[in-house]
Amino acid sequence: MAADPGHFEPMHAAHAIEQVAFVLQVDRSLEDTQLGEAVAAVQEQFGGAAGELPGRADIQTMTFSFGPLGHLGQGPVPTGGRVYNRTRQDGTLESELRVERLSIVYRTTAYTRWADIWGRARRYFATLLPVYTQVGTITAINLNFQDKFFWDGDIALCRPAALLRPQSNYVCPHVYAARDLWHSHTGAFSRADANTKRLLNVNLDCLDETATPPQRRFVAITTGLTDQLNQSGYTVTALHGADAVNYLDQHLPVLHNLSKDTFRNVINDAMCQRIALDD
């Protein structure tokens, strides 16, 4: 049997997902009262020491004004929103919910199964959406996966082809010949349907982790899908309260499947099998 020159291993043995994030953006900023309402709803349902998101902190912002004479001095400092989170005993972040004036962001590093993760995110969105959709309309829904694969072997022998699908649509061709660090970022808009302008981003970075020895080489792959609604040249999508949640129920699985299809087109068959992407 030929000696193994090295191979990539998914970050968490069973899968490579370091983080998944859901972002929802609206076109109008929440006023203080509405932000307070949103924060109170999260605090009541999920916050507090016994809640599932016990950590909390206000999001600080700094605003500068500019004019013809240059800097005009610092304006009032509004609160950007509030972040709720859960951390592990070792201090690493497990999940985080950011309640901001223009967006809701939920992200977690504890990926298990799609149904579980979306089920949790859905409850947060269902709590917050009535407040946000009272003020404005949804302009963007984003699903963002970040996967990481570590090279197991002599770094000098690390080759992109050990991980990447040959001639992937989403990887810059010259990357395949790289012998050192590399990155490949790409993105494009498409018309998903009459209502939806879709942005697909696939960003790959081959990096060395040097903070803690031994040095490790890894490839991080970010697959981002953003469906923009209510854009110029597209049909209006008016969603409020429960309708908005139902829309997400229909829409997020579509984005998830598309994200998987895209990811399948980035990594090779062996790695797809290794992380059971097709199961």
């Binding site: 998914p10 970050m11 968490h12 043995a13 069973a14 899968h15 370091e18 983080q19 994030a21 972002v23 953006q25 900023s29 902190a57 999001i59 600080q60 912002t61 700094m62 605003t63 500068f64 500019f66 240059g70 800097h71 610092q74 950007g80 972040v83 592990r88 070792d90 201090g91 690493t92 972040l93 497990e94 967006s103 962001v105 992200r107 590093t109 504890a110 302009t139 963007a140 984003n142 963002n144 970040q146 660090l181 990155h183 970022h185 993105g187 942005l199 981003n201 960003n203 970075d205 990096l207 903070a211 991080a220 970010t222 981002g224 953003t226 062996a270 099998q273 290794r274 992380i275 059971a276």
Partner: protein, 192 residues
């Protein structure tokens, strides 16, 4: 750097890159622990650049409509459940003679059934995975009061041998890997 200088730097940044919102790097302490990031909100808050998204340094010039989430600096540990499932998935790729003694290739159906079974177990009752020479997957427990050996014959049956409190139990039970339900006899014997 004074406030005025920071403001000038941001203004120059905006002019140079035509971005509308800039976000500072997240604050990460010496242990690599994530801290809250701070944001500068400038003009139209619809496009965000994310300096930290380009790990090679510098600003990422890709226009991103919604926030890209920054690469985390602190990794969590892989859980025992992920290790267990990862082992099963790794073995699933093994071809014939993986042991050098003529073993059959891993039976994928059996392996997937074992993986599905682990989803039904609480964190405190996770077993060791096994791969039999016949290619089938198995799960194995050995503690002070439990010895158990399950073999996944296919996606629908499990052969079991369990010793608990001096009693021995063995047999074959039906099991639907898609059903997300543990056979009652195993639920009792394993979790008693």
């Amino acid at each position: 750097m004074g406030t005025s200088n920071i403001a000038n730097a941001i203004a120059a940044l905006i002019a140079a890159s035509a971005v509308q919102t800039a976000t500072l790097n997240p604050v990460v302490d010496d242990l690599g622990l994530y801290k809250q990031r701070r944001a500068f909100l400038v003009a139209r808050p619809s496009t965000i650049i994310w300096p930290d998204a380009n790990p090679l340094g510098g600003l990422d010039s890709l226009p991103v409509v919604t926030p890209f989430i920054q690469i985390l600096r602190a990794e969590r540990e892989t859980t025992p459940r992920e290790q267990l499932i990862g082992e099963l998935r790794r073995w699933r790729m093994l071809t014939a003679n993986w042991d050098g003694e003529g073993a059959l290739a891993a039976d994928k159906v059996s392996s997937r059934a074992a993986e599905a079974f682990t989803d039904l177990l609480p964190d405190g009752l996770l077993p060791e995975p096994m791969l039999h020479a016949g290619g089938r997957a198995g799960l194995y427990w050995k503690t002070d009061d439990l010895y158990a050996d399950l073999e996944f014959l296919d996606g629908q049956r499990i052969a079991y041998y369990i010793e608990r409190a001096g009693d021995k139990h063995k047999g074959v039970v039906n099991y639907d890997a898609n059903n997300e339900e543990m056979p009652p006899v195993l639920a009792i014997l394993l979790q008693a």
